[in-house]
Symmetry: D2
Subunit: 376 residues, 4 copies
Amino acid sequence: MILSLLSFSLTIAQAQINDGVLRFDEQRSPQRSGIITIPDVNGYKVLKCDFHMHTVFSDGTVWPNIRLQEVREEGLDAFSITDHVEGHPHSNEVITNNNRPYELLKSEAQKNNVILIKGSEISRLTPPGHFNAIFTGDLSDYITDRSTNEKDREALLKASDQGAFVFWNHPGWRLNIEGSYEWIDFVNDLYINKALQGIEVFNGFGFHMKALDWCIDKGLTVMGSSDSHNLIKNTYDIDHDYIHRTMTLVFAKDRTESSIREALNAGRTVAWAGKYLAGKEEHVRNLFNACVELMPDHYSEVTKDGKSTNYYEIRNNSDLYFELELRSGMATNKIILYPRSLQLISAESGQGSLTYEVMTAFVRSDKHLVVALPLK
Amino acid sequence: MILSLLSFSLTIAQAQINDGVLRFDEQRSPQRSGIITIPDVNGYKVLKCDFHMHTVFSDGTVWPNIRLQEVREEGLDAFSITDHVEGHPHSNEVITNNNRPYELLKSEAQKNNVILIKGSEISRLTPPGHFNAIFTGDLSDYITDRSTNEKDREALLKASDQGAFVFWNHPGWRLNIEGSYEWIDFVNDLYINKALQGIEVFNGFGFHMKALDWCIDKGLTVMGSSDSHNLIKNTYDIDHDYIHRTMTLVFAKDRTESSIREALNAGRTVAWAGKYLAGKEEHVRNLFNACVELMPDHYSEVTKDGKSTNYYEIRNNSDLYFELELRSGMATNKIILYPRSLQLISAESGQGSLTYEVMTAFVRSDKHLVVALPLK
Amino acid sequence: MILSLLSFSLTIAQAQINDGVLRFDEQRSPQRSGIITIPDVNGYKVLKCDFHMHTVFSDGTVWPNIRLQEVREEGLDAFSITDHVEGHPHSNEVITNNNRPYELLKSEAQKNNVILIKGSEISRLTPPGHFNAIFTGDLSDYITDRSTNEKDREALLKASDQGAFVFWNHPGWRLNIEGSYEWIDFVNDLYINKALQGIEVFNGFGFHMKALDWCIDKGLTVMGSSDSHNLIKNTYDIDHDYIHRTMTLVFAKDRTESSIREALNAGRTVAWAGKYLAGKEEHVRNLFNACVELMPDHYSEVTKDGKSTNYYEIRNNSDLYFELELRSGMATNKIILYPRSLQLISAESGQGSLTYEVMTAFVRSDKHLVVALPLK
Amino acid sequence: MILSLLSFSLTIAQAQINDGVLRFDEQRSPQRSGIITIPDVNGYKVLKCDFHMHTVFSDGTVWPNIRLQEVREEGLDAFSITDHVEGHPHSNEVITNNNRPYELLKSEAQKNNVILIKGSEISRLTPPGHFNAIFTGDLSDYITDRSTNEKDREALLKASDQGAFVFWNHPGWRLNIEGSYEWIDFVNDLYINKALQGIEVFNGFGFHMKALDWCIDKGLTVMGSSDSHNLIKNTYDIDHDYIHRTMTLVFAKDRTESSIREALNAGRTVAWAGKYLAGKEEHVRNLFNACVELMPDHYSEVTKDGKSTNYYEIRNNSDLYFELELRSGMATNKIILYPRSLQLISAESGQGSLTYEVMTAFVRSDKHLVVALPLK
């Protein structure tokens, strides 16, 4: 049969014939594992983590293994399946078992060299709203009764008693409800009792601006999560340039579960969503400095007015995205730094440094990172 | 809070601030419903159908609603969820119920104006292999015992008794097993008893070449299916140019379930996978003629040897893909017709027609469609 | 040599070896000719035209043939090379000859079935600014002296005397110059003397908003142009979804040069740039109606309050893009119609029609098209 | 005018209004400068160089500045404009001056931090064919008379006398001409006289297989070039994944013109085209080792037969592409390493190393690179 097919060379060149079955794989989606490039920050590895997503075991629409596939394809280092303890809309079809997603994925995640951290979402009425607990123990006996705030508190203390890391999810998701998106007593009580360690500043496509200020002012950890229920690819246009799920960048000593925990406890995180970064100024600044590099001038020309203009390359060595606007100095006014690319900028000679505002990096709800770039 | 954000214009231009929550949706995957353009063929609508896919209710990895989302995004007209009657690897987690995927999706499919046809895969050992039954009734009492061929036969006759349309799946998928990929007595018996009406010629990325000849010689219907277990987007690189799931193009009187059945019974189908079409010559030829149009010459020039060359546009008015090679006549030798595009070709004047072999269209396992294009 | 290469099958499957030269064309950019799909509008063909672009014969950076390649790849029907009569920055290298680009391209354009219309840009100081003349005659003796408005007038009347169609380019491109972007006497004089027939409302990425009102109020033709100096692909990200050069959609009786002229004279145009359309209300409305179709309801459900909701498909049968916002009626609030796609919308039953504002279609500088969609 | 536009928020969010001109830049092609990531190889920087391309100053179709734009966008380090000394098809329009492209681009290239090396193509009849000379002096008095081989020799010796680096272009481009694609006396004479230092092994999409063996056997430098006449983007589909122009990877001590020359003289190059590499084994191997990293095993499982399987990540830290097939050992059979991605592989425990054939890397015309990957 092979001989008679020789004339088909144009069309089946990529195909392989095997006993009368022709395989043509050229339209198959390549099964690659991505790498998100971010340089180390002050000796810490920058781990890409998403600690908030769902499966058919609560109100998601995928089997847990899809979550591992997605994470692997995108190049994340660590993730948690956080199905709702209380909400099981598929309970007529799927046997309720809050421990099951973790059990199903554990060894497959290890095999794939991705860190899976056990967790769950504890979804109470609003207020107080929803919380994620990660690094949890057995999830089978969490309190699901949502009738009183006392029950809410018990549910959260259960996680805390197991040594979990607890963060408040999307605090502003339900607006116009009294006590919603406010630092209410219930939350303050958790905070005082060390039963709340972080807040989602970015959740999906939402920037919960107050949460950034609360994290900074109260010493809580800045978190970013996809909160994905459907497929990542149905939510994010990730095949295109610099598009990625919302996540937490964790500055960890090592690529291990325990180092992630240590970093979360220490608050060494930056949330990353779309083009935007949000975090404590120190971390956002260190991250920027690790990624962006202003090279020494490589060319100089005398302009009509007798002054001299120098030319520089500014390089973005990461897969992050930055937009800069000049705030002081005589130089290129706006700079867009696409992932792993460089831009040419010019500056009048004789200046020691340039000051830019990084319009895509938030260090408070109303403040962008401002950087001084020394001219060499 | 809005006022203080005015200076953020560069970065949050697309965002909307609402009580302290900033929404930036620019990286969201657009939720569009695709349209696959194929002109009517001899008065029949060309419906894009996939009658073979799986969910968590057998060995798939998605909830049924994902299948509807995918179908809608890609622009299919009709589909079947065909979970295995006998195989339930998630039975520790998902309650076995072969009717459930259809029940869960029925009204949502109607709301989305997509035709959902009830079905199931009846997966016996190889040989005889796997069969799909669509237009089935209650799936709860199908025979799952795979110990004998007699049980296999009973399982398939059950479907046939319900009035189902039954087709043999990927007959060549298990090579080197005796009786596999052969027209064995078991299959012949089904065929004679009208309990087998079609065969998958394309399954995923595989072209089961013998199946095309069997369909033509025995009057069975040519089928193409994705047999998707995982996400379509993890299998097919569908965001790129002319990439689509494997499917059956059904030439139907109307866009209704009953018209699909009538067309399947009448064998009016072409299987479509990657760049390739396969089917009975009549249908493939009619489809080609409906999609491809050679325009009248629009330019003429005299060449050095005193002859005259005419220029023509050849248009592909469809989302299909064709590669042509000249077999007789003096004209452009190779033509690639990308979806909805046109190409310029030239031909020596004085010819009545050109003969091309359509290298991407199979009308037997060893034969491409050959077309005569009249020159106007 | 072929035999020893058989083991290379994985890598050189797409390649062809010929006497020791291996060809691997799989990364070659496919040379296709695009088709921009827009249905006929009230019996007129919608021709895609760009009457403003440059080459190395003035201040552009490409040889004329690149312009034809681009036009062909994108699927335009007609174009003009409009190099500046007066500005020849490459005159040390390129011999000044304003007729040359047309001469070089004429027969190649015919061969490619693209309509090339002779033209030139007459670039005077601002004010009055720049004008394009198309359907011109010999360009060798146009007045290039820009010292006085009288010379400017002579230059433009030369074109008018040749029977050219003259339009004012990007009237707002130089802001903050007295008399710039104003309807000054100079322009009015041309207008009164029928030596000005249109204005660019869209030029590249700029919407010259006053120009739309002038066109409507004074009966001038609405134009859109790329004004491309560099490569189209370096200016527009055209490999991505619904991105295209700025152009004029001309509603013409036929796909001929004379029909284009007739349509321009009659003002039957809509300018198209990015997601936006601009034109006289009648033409924009007719274009919308030709492209967008609200189908009869296909599904109905009773909601909790006892009311009934109907579901509809709304289809965009064109390569244009529309965003709609509901202005009256109870129905889906926002609709994005991507090119050749459909969306599902719902409406409370019992309504005769829905009113939407088409946010991407301008019929005055401060007014969008408003459409009533009848419910069937 | 701004106030009245507030209701347009959905559509013009990204736009900026300025005195009645609305700018909507969201479809503008981003002007970024690419970075092609390839790690240093044994202390050498890997410079991406293309020493063969054309402009309107010979038979190309672009102004020289387009070549700089392209080079910058793609991330090349160095390039030469090599217009034909003898062929000037645009001589009716462009004033013949072989020095002009270099003069026009010199300072702009410096400003952009790209190395421009002066050069020219000396195109003689076939045989002997075409040669490129780079690092040339004044090009105005090169011999263009192609009537005899003696004139050909003079033309090439002129370059050699100027100290140029000369390489033979696409030796197999004209097949079936006697003496073509052969090591003829004319070439041998140049070689003996040190007037020929390299050969194009890759030219555009062609792999001139004999040239690789000649380079290896005779100590000539392996070259790869685009030989671009038209736009790079019209030739290569470079917006897509791992597609790039054909080029020479030069292993240089520094990113300077003199270091490039030193490396070319020393033969430290690898040619790169599509998915393929070709070069002397030592250089190809060092390049592979610099880019590909097999990590220590991270997981182990006992299989049914009591054996143990270990899992490893294999990382491609470069923008190159590799396909590997197992030649000895028990492990994953085929590995595709997409740019900057990783793959999971498994191997039976107890093995010291695995041997793979790198199907995309040629170290002779009939030999791929074979690598031993030690298991840690």
